[in-house]
Symmetry: C2
Subunit: 279 residues, 2 copies
């Protein structure tokens, strides 16, 4: 899915909601555990319940890898199911990969090269520590995106991301300035945590047009209105992610209804925000 | 495997060689491609041919993930096979993971928690960008290790790892100083590329006792003697990795012989180096 298609999707659904499929098998409703593949069954039902309200889904690889081969099968089935909604949602592999060039090329194939790996995500999250040649192999896939970590939502973000260099530039700002020339706003997004919304204004000065993937609203405590206030661009330019607050809104028989209600409530807030900028 | 066991292994094999199982299916000998699982068959033969000379094996996850579920099966069989050599080698999942706390916990299970994931590596490589709470969940597994990226062997290392802060400290040095207190030399190692051997002296001042995993000797051009000169500690403290230069020394019927010869040649150099410090 390209940038214009994503913007069209946001306009048509009046939403910039991304739902994180952090589908921990220990937290899904007990009655699903008799299914052939409980995690896939959970994901399928969550997708059906929320597809009207969400423009993106973001499986978090860790929750699948932790179950080894069985977990990867659940992920494969989930992505195959999402093929049915090819034009209705953007897909992000939240994998935080990054390695030397020949290795990053292999990771890119893992997420983008369906004939080889079975997976055909629109985007993958990438860590910047190893620099340009660890990132650029992902950008060689036409129509695919990377989402580079800039300023994350967790406490540990302050350990290194906020280090100031000699010119008073913070590391995350240096990452933005250096990396934005590796690709363009057509194939790169950035992760910026909602828990640091006030820094979005600074970030928008550096990358006015790039989409930002914003985790941290919901269970981590970030505010949607603060994120929108500082982070919106003229094309929206935001994908705000919620995971646990939607998918685990209930662990009972009503889990789909509760997930749908949470997603709808966020979509309604987003619709209001978007109408404020004429979208 | 704990630190003392690893040191004993280095003493008994007179080697600190780690072999990277970057087992690209497109590069393995053609005659193996009729096997039921060509990559596993390749790995099994490489292990058998080199186990006398190597103290560690490091499967590079990207080369397995790029083949999706089939790739993960090859990795699973490889690790199950390495169980036969439990006391004869240390195992490292080269995965460069790292995410917020609840997610890193899941990655730790993916590599360390065999009953859940099927995998039981001794160590996993971790990226530092997201800070302490992205790293510490891996340290909660008794007897397991992380290998944190400090100064990598690739060109892009200079994009961010060499940024100087206001006190003239380079980012990789800050990563070392900050992170060494998250664990100890009993459960943390660092990645330091052989292509920057001269910086090892500086690194040894910060982490005199930690093991360093050193990639970049071989195909990437680093020198074993330079690495040893600046990087050896009193307990050796080095695992020097070679991947392509050993496993793809030949792609013909003699590939095991050639891999063994390459590994033996490195082990002999290492034996000399170790005898210089009385090991």
């Amino acid at each position: 899915m390209n940038r214009q298609q994503l913007i069209n999707l946001i306009r048509s659904k009046k939403s910039f909601l991304c739902i994180g499929l952090d589908s921990d098998i220990e937290k899904i409703p007990a009655f699903l555990k008799n299914s052939e593949d409980p995690v896939f069954e959970f994901n399928r039902r969550i997708i059906d319940a929320t597809i009207k309200y969400a423009v993106a889904y973001k499986p978090n690889l860790a929750f699948y890898e932790s179950r080894g081969i069985e977990g990867l099968k659940s992920l494969q089935k989930t992505m195959d199911y999402l093929e049915n909604f090819r034009d209705e949602c953007f897909t992000i592999a939240d994998a935080k990969r990054g390695d030397i060039g020949n290795t990053s090329s292999q990771y890119a194939r893992a997420f983008f090269d369906k004939p080889v790996s079975g997976f055909d995500f629109d985007a993958v999250t990438v860590a910047p520590y190893m620099g340009e040649d660890s990132v650029s192999p992902f950008l060689g896939f036409k129509g695919k995106w990377i989402v580079l970590l800039a300023l994350t939502s967790n406490k540990g973000a302050s350990d290194f991301q906020l280090i100031e260099d000699k010119t008073n530039e913070l590391l995350f700002a240096k990452v933005l300035k250096t990396s934005k020339n590796w690709g363009s706003s057509e194939n790169m997004m950035y992760v910026v945590g909602a828990t640091r919304a006030e820094m979005l204004a600074e970030i928008r000065k550096i990358v006015p047009d790039h989409f930002l993937l914003v985790p941290g609203v919901g269970a981590q405590g970030g505010s949607l209105h603060e994120v929108a206030r500082y982070g919106l661009s003229k094309d929206c330019g935001l994908l705000v992610n919620a995971s646990r607050s939607i998918i685990f809104a209930s662990n009972g028989a009503d889990f789909e209804l509760k997930a749908a209600a949470e997603a709808k409530s966020m979509q309604e807030e987003m619709s209001e925000i978007l109408s404020g900028i004429g979208i």
